[in-house]
């Protein structure tokens, strides 16, 4: 039995985790109502069969190249490097089709859904990026698509709602619970409990019951694999520090996988620090959470002493989630990745800096990673840092406009 941290990390690197019950050491598993178990088993069997089939990989690669636009570029950021006194490299997942890494997983799962004979797809979305990616992937493979989205997020990310509907998806606003990503996941699961036979649920993050954390990682690993190869080609070295943002953690888990075995590469994750460290003011699961079970897996969770899940807050709808993928819980547990809380204002400052110095307007989510990267290289002049820019900021215009208005008002009243 592998129990020490070194053993667990080694097992993860060798592909032995999750185990057959879906556990990453003490985290993960499949804690769901019985009604969903046959559907999860069917999906797992279909996914294993697909991933072992060279024809599936050929088809996936064709879609990745001709439709997603893979490989996405990895490029040096000259002006940001000068400003930070570091060698800054950016992995441009924001240039993937539909504007974020979410398409990698949505495409892969949609292909599997079609393979296992699903009649429709259901998905949840926070920032709207996963919803847009799923709507696009379903249009591409020819499956009807229903997207549940918290009504608060429908408002925060209005342009994405229009995009989903244009691509033929039905968007259902969720007004129950906290009306954000968590409530959207609740509602998507409830839909699935109601129609487990013909429906495939495309979960968008590396969370949820087994096999989701595994399959999402498998489809996001392409980010890390490409990044490592591109760093060696272009920079002729690996980064000293690699940084990604983490909500549920799908971009990060895929990104980290390229470097897990490279002990010289420090891995860091930026969580949503919101507006403060008190309960309800942030979504920094690793900093403020304890182990618990939510949405089908055991992981780190923001909860009170009685096991009730806490409210969260973040400028970023995509990071506004009270739990984190079980593989991240393991990566923290074994000490391979360090997770840090980054506040809203720090993220917005980083967003402005990248926009002005490099002409790249990132989403607010990876802006958390940029802010953390800047902080990490402050005491390390000349360090090589790689940041995964997992999405572009076009979707954030409503919130950026509101922030600009608030800023103008406070200037006016001062």
């Amino acid at each position: 039995m592998t129990t020490t941290s070194t053993d667990l990390l080694q097992a993860l690197i060798e592909g032995a985790l999750p185990d057959s019950n879906g556990f990453f050491g003490p985290f993960g598993g499949r804690f769901v109502p019985e009604t969903l178990v046959p559907a999860l088993e069917r999906f797992e069997a279909g996914a294993r069969e697909a991933l072992a089939d060279p024809m599936f990989h050929t088809e996936l690669r064709q879609h990745q190249e001709g439709w997603v636009g893979r490989p996405t570029p990895l490029a040096f950021a000259p002006r940001l490097s000068a400003a930070w006194n570091a060698q800054v490299w950016l992995k441009r997942e924001d240039l993937a089709h539909t504007g974020a890494h979410k398409i990698n997983n949505a495409l892969g799962q949609a292909l599997i859904a079609r393979r296992i004979g699903a009649e429709r797809v259901v998905a949840e979305t926070g920032a709207g990026q996963h919803g847009v990616a799923t709507a696009a992937a379903c249009a591409r493979v020819g499956l009807p698509c229903i997207v549940y989205m918290g009504s608060k997020d429908v408002e925060r990310q209005a342009p994405n709602v229009v995009r989903m509907r244009r691509m033929g998806a039905e968007v259902r606003p969720v007004t129950t619970g906290d009306a954000t990503l968590r409530a959207a996941v609740d509602e998507a699961i409830r839909h699935w409990v109601g129609y487990p036979e013909g429906t495939h649920y495309i979960l968008g993050s590396a969370v949820g019951p087994h096999p989701f954390p595994w399959i999402v990682r498998e489809f996001q690993k392409v980010i890390g694999v490409e990044s490592r190869r591109q760093m060696l080609e272009k920079a002729h070295r690996l980064p000293d520090v690699a940084v990604a943002c983490v909500g549920g953690g799908s971009n990060a888990v895929g990104f980290y996988h390229g470097f897990l075995a490279d002990a010289s590469v420090e891995l860091h994750g930026a969580e949503a620090g919101g507006v403060g460290a008190h309960v309800g003011q942030h979504a920094a699961t690793m900093s403020g959470g304890t182990p618990g079970v939510l949405h089908g897996s055991r992981s780190m969770l923001l909860q009170d002493e009685h096991g009730q899940v806490s409210d969260t807050q973040s400028v970023s709808a995509g990071l506004d989630y009270p739990a984190i993928g079980p593989e991240h819980a393991l990566l923290a547990h074994v000490g391979r990745v360090a997770y840090h809380a980054v506040r809203d204002d720090e993220a917005i400052t980083a967003l402005d800096e990248l926009s002005r110095l490099e002409g790249i307007l990132p989403a607010v989510e990876p802006s958390h990673a940029l802010a953390l990267a800047k902080h990490l290289v402050r005491d390390r002049p000349g360090a090589t840092v790689l940041v995964n820019v997992c999405g572009r900021g076009d979707k954030d215009m409503p919130i950026l406009t509101r922030l600009a208005d608030e800023h103008a008002q406070s200037e006016g009243s001062a």
Binding site: F31, E34, P38
Partner: protein
């Protein structure tokens, strides 16, 4: 008598006396902490077994009614320690044996060892945990070792070999989700339900109770002979929400 046998015996007795046993579900702390003991006592006076619902912030298997009762109960401070205190105070005064029904996380936060220790003094004879499938039942080891009932849940989409492993590990009774869907929904046709319950009963050495979507006497009558008991939850909580008596509704369903 072991705790789980108190449950299976109560179901068998209800079935033998009334043709079908009646299991009532009430959300602890709904509509208020003060009103809850009266509602629980009323439910116990008219049902054979009563499930005390532990509210959770993210009830993924519940329909609108139980989502709402859960939310209200949490606002009223229906935490596990508060609920256990309440039950301890009523111990010995209730006419039916109790089960706790709740999602795993609040039970884990309370501590399953602690629950196993505290169960007897609170009159709790077992647990129903909708998000704990048989593969993960080992998590509940302290509950099993205390001989408390671990109610097994099966659904119409559960295939044969899973059904076998669920009924083998279950104690108290087997909870047959009568329709696919969240609590409160009712939509399968009767022939399907009867054949499905027949299948579960043949596999199960302990009583089988059907739940999800049972709202009126016709639903109960249709299940007579097809299973050992019926579980009524959402309809009862709607009655409570409208200020109607739980006892009246349960009498009507008998």
């Amino acid at each position: 008598m072991r705790a789980h046998e108190r449950i299976s015996d109560a179901i068998a007795k209800g079935r033998d006396t009334h043709g079908i046993a009646l299991v009532a579900y009430v959300t602890a702390g709904f509509p208020t902490m003060d009103a809850f003991p009266g509602i629980l006592a009323d439910a116990c006076a008219h049902a054979d077994v009563v499930e005390v619902g532990i509210p959770f912030s993210n009830p993924i298997a519940d329909g609108g009614t139980l989502q709402a009762t859960s939310r209200v109960a949490l606002e009223h401070g229906a935490t596990m320690p508060a609920i256990m205190d309440e039950l301890r105070g009523m111990h010995g005064s209730l006419d039916a044996p109790l089960l706790l029904m709740g999602y795993l996380n609040p039970l884990l936060a309370y501590g399953l060892d602690r629950l196993a220790t505290d169960a007897e003094s609170a009159g709790v004879n077992g647990v129903i945990v909708p998000d704990l499938p048989p593969e993960s039942l080992e998590v509940a080891r302290p509950i099993i070792d205390a001989r408390l009932a671990t109610i097994g849940m099966v659904s119409p989409v559960t295939h044969e070999d899973r059904l076998q492993s669920i009924v083998e590990r279950a104690s108290g009774f087997v909870y047959a989700v009568a329709s696919v869907g969240v609590t409160g929904q009712h939509r399968n046709d009767q022939a399907d339900i009867t054949a499905y319950l027949q299948r579960v009963r043949e596999a199960s050495p302990i009583p089988v109770c059907a739940g999800f979507g049972i709202r009126e006497k016709a639903h109960v009558d249709a299940l007579r002979g097809a299973c050992d008991g019926v579980i009524v939850g959402s309809a009862l909580m709607e009655a409570v929400g409208e200020g109607r008596s739980v006892g009246d509704l349960l009498r009507l369903l008998r």
